[in-house]
């Protein structure tokens, strides 16, 4: 089966600004793909190119096997989109807005609509202008999630939701995964991404700086181990796979490569181990490492 999203060497400039610079990304069918990056990195631009709202300057973009610019209408029948900043028609109610968006595509379930309105605790009879940010987002989410399509493109869909509603959102995404749907999720909430996503693409300055399966990416980084031992642990510094070792008052902390976990733990035990905690590399760590990179350099050049 061919990829749902296949982007190669995509470049898009706005005047002198290079928003996307030979950007690559692939999303396979059935994947929940996270799309991460700092503000202004090019996430929304990429999504807008995928939706055929912006025309690519160069590079190739394939969406559901078609060309997003030329086959926009047919492709849009097979996907839904939730923007990060939802704006509704001020004089239409939330329910009306959902129906209007539904009538612009074909595969929609009315029972699913009503079920989602209930799950998201949305009052569909209020006018668009009276909704809060979070409630506008719920309107867009209900409209999108009640559509029966292959691909769900979600651009920071939970930014305005409370934790309870975010839980509902995560349940919905898991249901989509169980049904084999594909989701492209752009988000800043790393805990959410860690819970939901199979793959991660990190974009910075319009370039793909890291991509792959989340568990594979974790292999690339090191766990953080903190332990208390009765004997001096300084000698561990010489072991393979141990980095940045520090010993303070009998407490030792270091970073550990995954493949060396066994021998190092054994050595630790031999030092008369009292306590030990080992934290897997968090996405946040991964993320900060990629984000921070040349950030200072950019600030100067601007």
């Amino acid at each position: 089966m061919s990829a749902v999203i296949e982007i190669a060497k995509l470049t898009k400039t706005f005047g002198p600004v290079r928003a996307l610079d030979e950007f690559d990304m692939t999303v396979q069918p059935g994947e929940i793909a996270a799309f991460l990056g700092p503000n202004g990195a090019g996430k929304s631009t990429t999504i807008r190119v995928l939706l055929g709202l912006l025309r690519a300057d160069s590079g190739s973009v394939s969406l559901l096997g078609g060309d997003p610019w030329h086959d926009a209408v047919d492709l849009h029948q097979r996907l839904v989109y939730v923007p990060g900043d939802v704006h509704l028609w001020p004089t239409l109610t939330g329910g009306e807005a959902i129906d209007v968006l539904h009538r612009l595509r074909s595969h929609v379930s009315v029972t699913r609509r009503d079920e989602l309105i209930e799950r998201f605790e949305l009052d569909p009879s209020k006018k668009g202008r009276t909704y809060s940010t979070g409630n506008r987002q719920k309107v867009a989410l209900v409209a999108a999630l009640s559509a029966d399509v292959e691909l769900y493109v979600l651009d920071e869909p939970t930014a305005g939701l409370d934790p309870l509603m975010e839980q509902v959102f995560q349940d919905c995404i898991r249901e989509l995964r169980d049904q084999g749907r594909t989701v492209l999720l752009s988000s800043h909430i790393l805990a959410e991404v860690e819970k939901l996503c199979d793959t991660v693409t990190i974009i910075r300055n319009g370039r793909n700086v890291q991509s792959g399966r989340l568990d594979e990416l974790r292999h690339l980084t090191r766990s953080r181990v903190v332990a208390t031992t009765r004997h001096d642990a300084s000698a561990l510094a010489g072991l393979a796979g141990v980095h940045d070792l520090e010993v303070v008052d009998g407490e030792v902390s270091f970073r550990l490569d995954r493949e060396h976990t066994g021998p190092v733990m054994k050595a630790l035990a031999d030092l008369d181990l009292v306590t030990v905690t080992s934290n897997p590399p968090s996405l946040e760590e991964l993320f900060l490492r990629q984000y921070a990179g040349e950030a200072t350099g950019e600030a100067v050049s601007r």
Binding site: Q77, V80, P83, H87, V100, L104, R105
Partner: protein, 534 residues
């Protein structure tokens, strides 16, 4: 046809969103047409009565304000209606479609709603096509309603339909212009502003062109309003000038469609420039902020008024020479008694006309208050160490400063060219002062706006009704033969027609005090009400 997918669903959405606004607009204009047509017959039952307005309308001042006018030498109610009032109905038609197109194109795009719509199974050209169809439909409906509403006035069936068709044509052309400007700028305010500027320019070009030669000159033909007037409705009606409008609208629709196909969603063809990375030291406090926000708009309005004034001032010479060989004593009497006074009458009327434009600017500037509140920015200011009166007075202050600048621009533009072409330096000061005298009257109207805003942000709109009334009374009051109290209630009625008349100090002082009282009342009310957003 995939490019037009979703057309019907979007059309239904557009009609749903406009189910109140559009019918109100259509009916208001049609009722206005019907009112003018009937009021004229009540105010001037006999042909002899019509002679009085005919003489004024046939003079250069009347021509600038209403159009070439056909049949003024032997006027009847039908030709008087077409000559004196039709232009204002055409203006209404133009604004109807400009605002209609604005709220269905750039406003949707700027707010991000079009992005959500286009992400559905909607063809690239469908949204624009819906707006075009809506514009054509509204224009046709406006024409039909206008024709039907003036049929009872008994001006002739054929002429009434020609008038309706002229309304349709004007609405169509300016709607098409707005559709093009919507592609040019990424900001809805700028796009609608450019289209409004096109309306203003078309009025000015027509005014200048019509003064240059009796019944319109070559210059007039550059204005879509002239195409409508040159149908000579109710005189010897001819349909062919409407074809110009239809052709222009068709061409503009095509241009808009081509421009739209070439650009990205959300982008304009006119690039936005980067600005300062830090605020200037002077940008401190609510008044400085309000003035800064007003700056661009004021520069554009002032430039337009300067050009408009210069255009009218520059015609003083030809007004003078056309009056020199005038032998109609009645016209001369109507304008003040001797030919030199007639130039003064012309300048005074043009100053009033400029004051109307400035009044519109002033109200638009005051509207920043309600826009800031609705978008939540007022909340940001008021959450800082800024009191409500200070914030409101800052907004009003910026509008007043803008009003002074705009009046000066209009006065200097007209005074300078009038003095230049006639060689009489005295005209300059007459015109500049005569224009500035409108400041207290405009301040009173702004005061009414502040009272409305004090009640609720939406009530600020009420000032448009009062201003519309004041403008109709100020310009057409004498023609409608209104009783004195109805005329005197308008603040504009208390400003002298300088240089034709001399301005006494008392009315200006009273107007200023009234304005201050209104502002105080509105500010007090604003302190006690809830903020609606932010």
């Amino acid at each position: 046809m995939r490019q037009y997918a979703g057309f019907w669903a979007l059309l239904r959405l557009a009609l749903r969103r406009d189910r109140v606004k559009l019918p109100v607009w259509l009916l208001s204009i049609a009722v206005m047409a019907s009112y003018f047509a009937n009021a004229l017959q009540v105010a001037y039952p006999e042909k002899e009565d019509l002679k009085a307005i005919a003489d004024f309308m046939d003079s250069p001042a009347g021509t600038v304000m209403s159009g070439p006018g056909f049949g003024w030498d032997d006027p009847n109610h039908a030709t008087a209606f077409a000559g004196a009032y039709a232009l204002y109905l055409y203006l209404g038609a133009a604004f109807l479609t400009v605002l209609l197109v604005g709220r269905h194109t750039r406003v949707e795009e700027e707010a991000g709603r079009l992005e959500m719509v286009r992400a559905a199974a909607v063809g690239r050209h469908a949204p624009l096509a819906v707006t075009a169809v809506l514009t054509v439909g509204a224009s046709l409906l406006l024409g039909v309603l206008s024709a039907i509403f003036i049929l009872p006035a008994d001006y002739g069936v054929g002429g009434s339909w020609l008038f309706g068709a002229s309304m349709t044509m004007v609405a169509l052309v300016f709607g098409a212009i707005a559709l093009v400007t919507a592609q040019l700028s990424g900001h809805s305010r700028t796009a609608t502003g450019m289209a409004s500027l096109a309306i203003g320019s078309a009025v000015a070009i027509r005014g200048a062109g019509d003064v240059l030669a009796d019944q319109g000159s070559w210059l007039s033909w550059f204005s879509p309003f002239a195409w409508a007037q040159q149908t000579r409705v109710f005189y010897d009606g001819r349909w062919w000038p409407l074809l110009l409008g239809v052709a222009a609208a068709g061409a503009l629709f095509a241009v808009a469609s081509r421009l739209q196909a070439r650009r990205d969603l959300g982008a304009g063809l006119l690039a936005t420039r980067p600005g300062n990375a830090a605020a200037m030291p002077a940008l401190r406090g609510p008044l400085a902020l309000a003035l800064r926000l007003e700056r661009t708009s004021l520069v554009v309005w002032a430039a337009v008024l300067l050009v408009l004034g210069a255009l009218y001032g520059g015609l003083t010479d030809s007004v003078q020479s056309s009056l020199a060989d005038l032998d109609n004593q009645m016209v001369i009497d109507a304008m003040g008694g001797d030919p030199t006074r007639m130039v003064d009458g012309y300048l005074a009327t043009c100053a009033l006309f400029n004051a109307y434009v400035v009044l519109c600017y002033a109200i638009v500037a005051l509207h920043r208050l309600s826009v800031e509140e609705r978008d939540g920015r007022a909340g940001s200011s008021l959450a800082a160490a800024v009191s409500r009166p200070r914030w409101l007075l800052a907004g009003l202050g910026a509008a007043l400063v803008g009003t002074v600048v705009a009046l000066l621009a209009a006065g200097v533009g007209m005074g300078a060219t009038a003095a230049l072409v006639t060689g009489e330096g005295g005209h300059f000061w007459d015109v500049v002062l005569g224009t500035l005298f409108y400041l207290p009257a405009i301040a009173v109207l702004l005061g009414i706006g502040v009272v409305g805003f004090g009640i609720a942000p939406g009530w600020l709109n009420g000032v448009w009704l009062v201003a519309g009334y004041a403008m109709v009374v100020g310009y057409l009051g004498f023609a409608l033969d209104l009783p004195d109290p109805l005329v005197d209630v308008s603040p504009l009625s208390h400003v002298a027609q300088v240089p034709l008349e001399t301005q006494s100090a008392l009315p200006l002082v009273v107007l200023t005090l009234v304005a201050a009282a209104l502002v105080a009342a509105g500010t007090a009310r604003f302190r006690t009400r809830d903020l609606t957003a932010g």
